[in-house]
């Protein structure tokens, strides 16, 4: 078998695998999307049929847009998610760099201390957090949410980034030091660009629970002005009657911005490493 033919065979096998996985990954999303454009009856009569003139209906989207200022909710979710991610990545990378780069007493313990947070769900600490926010007058502000999500995301960020920081070449850093770069310059200009793929992963990992969180917006910022999208869509899920049209529409709308965020992160950061700009 010659090389070209073998490559072709490999490539076909790879694409077959990836395509079947694509179908598996997208099928449920496809089901949600087509059904968000259908009447309630059509959703349950023929869940797999795409909307046709008979079953097409925008009633879900109309309800969503009528009930509350969804654009504003969108904006709140976006601010909270992006700002929290920014602080998680910045603070997390800084701490990870310190843990990976310097030997000091208590290094391992500090690492373990910072990892404790991934072992207990923060939700059980709700009352203490709420009391703290009440005391500092942060209830019903987006800052309260940003603080909580930053704290919640840090342990994982430090945990993952430390591992990747350790793989950054010592020679490179020492060369920087000989050139007279400060430790801060070494971090921002040498180390940070090299761990960009890992940061993208951390970003994606954290983005989802923040964007989809219902609990803390409900407790810390339920006011109309600070409502997030996820909290806003909850209004359609009732005790006995759930408005599936509206839920599906709201959730379909909510997928788009997270997907956009993801594409931005992955493209930007993965390109950073493959371009090999720093090496």
């Amino acid at each position: 078998m010659n090389k070209a033919r073998r490559n072709l065979a490999h490539s076909i096998a790879a694409h077959t695998l990836l395509l079947s996985y694509t179908i598996l990954a997208l099928f449920p999303v496809f089901v949600i999307l087509i059904n968000s454009f259908k009447t309630r009856k059509a959703i349950f009569r023929h869940p797999l049929t795409p909307p046709n003139p008979d079953s097409f209906s925008l009633v879900g989207y109309e309800t969503v847009l009528k009930q509350g200022d969804f654009f504003h909710y969108f904006q709140n979710s976006m601010i909270v998610t992006v700002v929290s991610l920014f602080f998680i990545l910045l603070f997390g990378a800084m701490a990870a760099f310190a843990l990976a780069e310097y030997r000091f007493r208590g290094n391992v313990w500090m690492g373990l201390y910072l990892a404790l947070g991934i072992m207990i769900p923060i939700r059980i600490g709700t009352v203490a957090i709420l009391q703290m926010m009440v005391a500092s007058g942060l209830v019903n502000t987006l800052t309260a949410l940003i603080l909580v999500y930053t704290a919640q995301g840090l342990p994982l960020a430090v945990f993952i980034l430390t591992e990747f920081m350790k793989q950054v070449s010592d020679d490179l850093k020492n060369a920087g030091r000989i050139d007279g770069l400060s430790e801060y310059a070494i971090f921002f200009r040498l180390a940070l660009p090299l761990v960009r793929p890992a940061m993208a992963t951390v970003a994606v990992f954290n983005m989802i629970p923040i964007w989809n969180d219902l609990w803390f917006p409900l407790i810390l910022a339920p006011s109309e002005a600070t409502k997030t999208l996820t909290l806003g869509s909850q209004v359609f899920i009732g005790q006995f009657v759930t408005n599936w049209n509206a839920v599906l529409a709201a959730l379909s709308l909510a997928i788009i911005p997270v997907l956009a965020l993801y594409v931005i992160f992955s493209r930007q950061l993965i390109r950073g490493i493959t371009a090999g700009a720093v090496k």
Binding site: Q67, I79, L130, Q131, W215, I219, T226, I237, F240, T242
Partner: protein
């Protein structure tokens, strides 16, 4: 680094925006905590405007939380001091616990309380009856809703006795056009709430059996309490294929899309079904085991309204609670939400025929509430939670009615003193 500043600015902007907007709340605004998300439109369009018209200077906001999060989030917000002024009360122990923690105000002497009978108030009073902490709002009644068109098509008439009930189910099954009954066991609470509590009162003779159980003179293993399980055990054969994974909303959809003939119901379904079903619906009360015997229905005190003990606007909140005892509110609420029946002494005229059918049973049958709600679910294992799990198992046939009852009795005895002899 440029990015950092941009984001920092955004953060600051967000803080100022959030802070500024939250400070604009008016002083005479009261907000209502509720788990009834689906009632949002009714409150916004009907109830609140009616109140505000007669009470200038008080603004009311209805801020529901999704029902699965309600209790947990309410308790957290009460502890943190950020809960609303008025609090929708679940019946019995849940609200009692909130009252005992000092979070619900004592409303015993509220003017409007005289408009409610003691039975209605018992769901929101301390065990000795000395303090009442929520204004009763509504009760819900169990029964069966059926597809009238399907019954006509198959030439069926409404069953009165258990025997007739199963005969009707047999006929529907034989014909095969319709699934005889829309119910699933995936959400376990559906099995006890729509099944056991629905048909049970006819066997344990309503209040008589319920109070005997609390006193310890009857046991869950007595014939009166096992027989409804025996009846329930036969239901599995008449449910849809794969009913084991059928959820509560699946059951609702199955019925309202016209695929099932009978729906074991609570009256709360009426308003939802009215908008969703495009066939005529009727209702029949739980069939009696023996023709001609007295009938009993589950007429359960389900929802009330209390006042946050730490509210900043107690006068405005009390004004609202007093208005809830008025005839205007009773009629407005009962007609806006057919199936939630007023608990006040005012006689309310219901426009909805299906709701009228349900409420008419109060005249011929004796009312009782769900047996596990008062006192009996205070320990571990929790009788209410166990009831759901065990009822589901009985319908699925994975446990016999006798074993199911024995299991429940054992759990109850393990912590409830009056049952220990």
């Amino acid at each position: 680094m440029k990015m950092k500043y941009k984001l920092g600015g955004l953060l600051l902007a967000g803080t100022i925006l959030g802070g500024a907007l939250s400070a604009t709340a008016e002083e005479a605004t009261i907000s209502i905590e509720s788990w009834r998300s689906e009632d949002l439109a009714i409150w916004q369009d009907k109830i609140i405007p009616a109140f505000e018209a007669s009470h200038p200077g008080i603004k009311v906001k209805f801020t529901p939380t999704s029902p699965t999060e309600y209790d947990a989030s309410l308790n957290s917000r009460l502890a943190g001091g950020t809960a609303g002024d008025l609090i929708t009360c679940r019946p019995f122990d849940q609200s009692l616990a909130v009252y005992e923690q000092g979070n619900l105000a004592d409303l015993t002497n509220l003017e409007a309380m005289k408009n409610f009978p003691d039975v209605a108030k018992s769901a929101w009073s301390t065990d000795d009856g000395s303090v009442t902490f929520c204004v009763p709002m509504a009760s819900v009644i169990h029964g069966f809703i059926y597809n009238k068109d399907a019954f006509k098509e198959l030439g069926l008439s409404v069953p009165q006795t258990e025997e007739e009930f199963f005969a009707v189910l047999d006929k529907i099954k034989e014909d095969g056009t319709y699934i005889p009954m829309a119910m699933g066991t995936h959400d376990e609470w559906e099995a006890n709430t729509m099944g056991y509590y629905n048909i049970g009162p006819n066997y344990w003779k309503g209040e008589e059996g319920r109070l005997a159980l609390i006193k310890g003179t009857q046991k869950l293993t007595d014939k009166d309490w096992v027989d409804p399980f025996r009846s329930l055990a036969k239901w599995g054969a008449y449910l849809g294929d794969g009913f084991e994974s059928q959820t509560y909303s699946d059951s609702q959809n199955l019925f309202t899309l016209g695929r099932a003939a009978i729906y074991p119901a609570g009256s709360w379904e009426i308003s939802g079904f009215n908008t969703q079903a495009d066939f005529a619906m009727g209702a029949f009360k739980p069939p009696v085991p023996v023709a001609g015997q007295d009938c009993y229905i589950s007429d359960h005190t389900d929802i009330g309204m209390g006042m946050n003990a730490k509210t900043a606007n107690p006068e405005a909140a009390k004004a609202f609670l007093n208005w809830m005892g008025s005839e205007e509110f009773a009629s407005l609420y009962a007609n806006a939400l057919p199936g939630f029946f007023s608990l006040s002494k005012h006689s309310v005229k219901l426009d909805d025929p299906l709701a009228q059918e349900f409420v008419s049973w109060r005249e011929t049958c004796k009312s009782t509430i769900r047996p596990t709600y008062q006192i009996l679910s205070r320990g571990t294992p929790n009788l209410e939670t166990e009831m759901g799990r065990v009822s589901a198992n009985v319908i699925k046939g994975t446990v016999t009615p006798e074993d199911a009852a024995a299991e429940l009795q054992k759990g109850l005895e393990s912590w409830y003193k009056p049952q220990q002899n």
